[in-house]
């Protein structure tokens, strides 16, 4: 839509083409540009950071090996996300024979980018919201993450997660609706609390 948003995109595509032609510096730059986002996406699946880093190393070495066959790819980010997802899930399945992978970080971490909006009582709402999001099915959570945090389109999310576009739309709609319900309950609950405290 806007030019300044489009130009980094064309820049990445140019670098990708250079990488496919064997340019190692382009490859290094693309790896560096995507590494942190991929890692963070990986934390959706496992709390084991070393496992994610291992998978990322395999992933990038693998795409370097087959670079000559990758020049048709225009949507770079969804391609990388999808590859990491497949690798990770395969590895986790193999591992989970021995250990059970659980998501048990309970602490409430909403980073204070602009704490001036958050009033003290809101800590309770964000805590509840955290519980709400933890209560959502994994795939819904993942779709929401890709849509809002990674800004992928419905089609791109469908590619990454191996779903039909309609399924993505349903997940997103249902997920956001659930979260908003939780939010409303939480605020009503808070309003009641302060009402009671007041009288």
């Amino acid at each position: 839509m806007k030019n300044s948003e489009r130009s980094p995109e064309t820049y990445l595509i140019t670098r990708w083409q250079q990488f496919c032609a064997g340019d190692k510096s382009a490859f290094g730059e693309l790896t560096e540009l995507n590494y942190a986002a991929l890692y963070h996406y990986g934390t959706r699946f496992t709390p084991d950071g070393d496992l994610i880093k291992d998978c990322l190393q395999d992933l990038f070495l693998e795409i370097w090996e087959k670079r000559e066959t990758l020049s048709y790819i225009a949507a770079i980010k969804p391609y990388l996300f999808q590859s990491l997802r497949n690798n990770l899930i395969r590895r986790i399945r193999r591992q989970s024979v021995f250990s059970d992978i659980r998501d048990d970080d309970v602490q409430d971490d909403i980073s204070p980018e602009s704490d001036w909006i958050i009033q003290e009582t809101d800590q309770l709402t964000s805590h509840r919201l955290k519980q709400a999001i933890d209560a959502l099915p994994k795939r819904q959570k993942e779709a929401l993450y890709l849509k809002y945090y990674e800004n992928l389109s419905y089609e791109e999310i469908a590619t990454v997660m191996g779903l039909q576009r309609q399924a993505v739309a349903n997940y997103l709609q249902y997920g956001i609706q659930k979260l908003r319900e939780y939010w409303q309950h939480a605020t009503i609950f808070l309003a009641l609390c302060s009402e009671i405290a007041w009288h």
Partner: protein
């Protein structure tokens, strides 16, 4: 008037500029002011913000240093391509001979026309200037100011006779440009990729700020004044390579000016009332608008950046802008304005075309 005033929670969730603020703190000043001016939106914004943060979850961010280490691990793990070194007589001598013949042919052809020879010389000089191929140079030969948008989106306003050279694509770890003459810079913030300006043996290093540089070939002094942000100035090493002399380094803040002597490499700083060195409107403009008609905002951008903005005057007749735009490059400013007044823009060189659905 602006459509943000009527946003519902769902609209906020889907707004890219809003997401960037929540997730990356972009345009913080703008959003804080917006919330202050629109208290009715506070609860919607709060809800949308919390939902977005909950969706992101914990930000277990990797430090840059770790990313860099991992990337070099990956690069090191790539097996080296085996190059077979053939003796020259067995490999390419036919090709070499062909190239030599061809070169000789071109040279002879060029000798016939001296003009052409000069062209060749300037082409070669141009290539030599920029260390590597793929280097672009823009020379402002007009009498007016000229806006240059760099590959990262940063804006440079060149004064008459100024010239800037830069690569078609910046390197992975730094953004390097060379300047001769006078120019004003608005650099896109990117702490991971420092922005370096080489101007007459002075090196200026920034992460995202605005400042002016005066580096005329016929003057012994190079001058710089900071409008916003922090700027680091040092002397280029004797051998003329991009090595930065670690011994002499100065950190400058807004309204601080440095005079750098090309010969002695001495630097003298002073504080100035206003960061004006080149008498450009961009140096003193603070881009604060309070219910300013959009046409006036555009006119101001046109004179500041020497660009042309085309718009349908009737469509935007009722649009006004209340915002504080800081030291962002011109494209970021246009992005913000367009989001606020529900418009789109297309830029081609220094011509900008704005399409708006109008404001009630």
């Amino acid at each position: 008037m602006n459509n943000y005033s009527y946003f519902q929670v769902k609209d906020w969730l889907d707004d890219p500029a809003f997401q960037r603020w929540v997730y990356h703190g972009e345009q913080d000043a703008f959003w804080k002011e917006f919330i202050q001016d629109n208290p009715g939106q506070l609860s919607n914004i709060e809800q949308a913000r919390e939902l977005l943060l909950a969706v992101r979850g914990e930000l277990d961010a990797l430090p840059d240093s770790e990313v860099k280490a991992r990337v070099s691990e990956i690069l090191n793990a790539i097996p080296e391509e085996k190059l077979r070194a053939l003796p020259w007589w067995r490999s390419n001598w036919l090709k070499i001979a062909a190239v030599l013949l061809l070169t000789l042919g071109i040279a002879t052809a060029l000798f016939r026309e001296k003009e052409n020879l000069q062209n060749l010389q300037s082409l070669v000089a141009g290539l030599g200037d920029g260390d590597q191929p793929g280097q672009l140079e823009i020379h402002n030969e007009t009498n007016a100011i000229q806006l240059v948008t760099l590959p990262d989106g940063s804006s440079v306003i060149l004064k008459k006779h100024a010239r800037i050279s830069y690569p078609a694509a910046f390197a992975a770890d730094r953004r390097e440009v060379r300047l001769r003459g006078e120019a004003f810079f608005e650099v896109v913030k990117n702490p991971e990729k420092p922005f370096l300006v080489y101007a007459g043996s002075m090196v200026t290093k920034v992460k995202g700020t605005s400042f002016s540089i005066k580096a005329n070939d016929d003057e012994e002094d190079v001058q710089l004044v900071v409008k916003t942000g922090v700027v680091e100035v040092s002397a280029l090493e004797e051998d003329g390579k991009s090595e930065v002399n670690a011994g002499k380094k100065l950190i400058l803040k807004p309204n601080e000016q440095v005079t750098f002597n090309r010969k002695s490499l001495n630097m003298v700083t002073k504080t100035v009332q206003k960061p004006v060195l080149l008498n450009l409107p961009a140096e003193s403009q603070n881009f604060e608008f309070k219910r300013t008609p959009l046409a006036e905002v555009f006119a101001e951008l046109e004179t500041t950046y020497g660009i042309r903005i085309q718009f349908d005057a009737r469509a935007i007749a009722h649009c006004t802008l209340t915002a504080r735009l800081g030291d962002e490059p011109v494209h970021e400013k246009l992005d913000l304005i367009c989001t606020v007044v529900n418009a789109r823009y297309q830029a081609q060189g220094n011509e900008v075309v704005v399409a708006s659905e109008g404001c009630e």
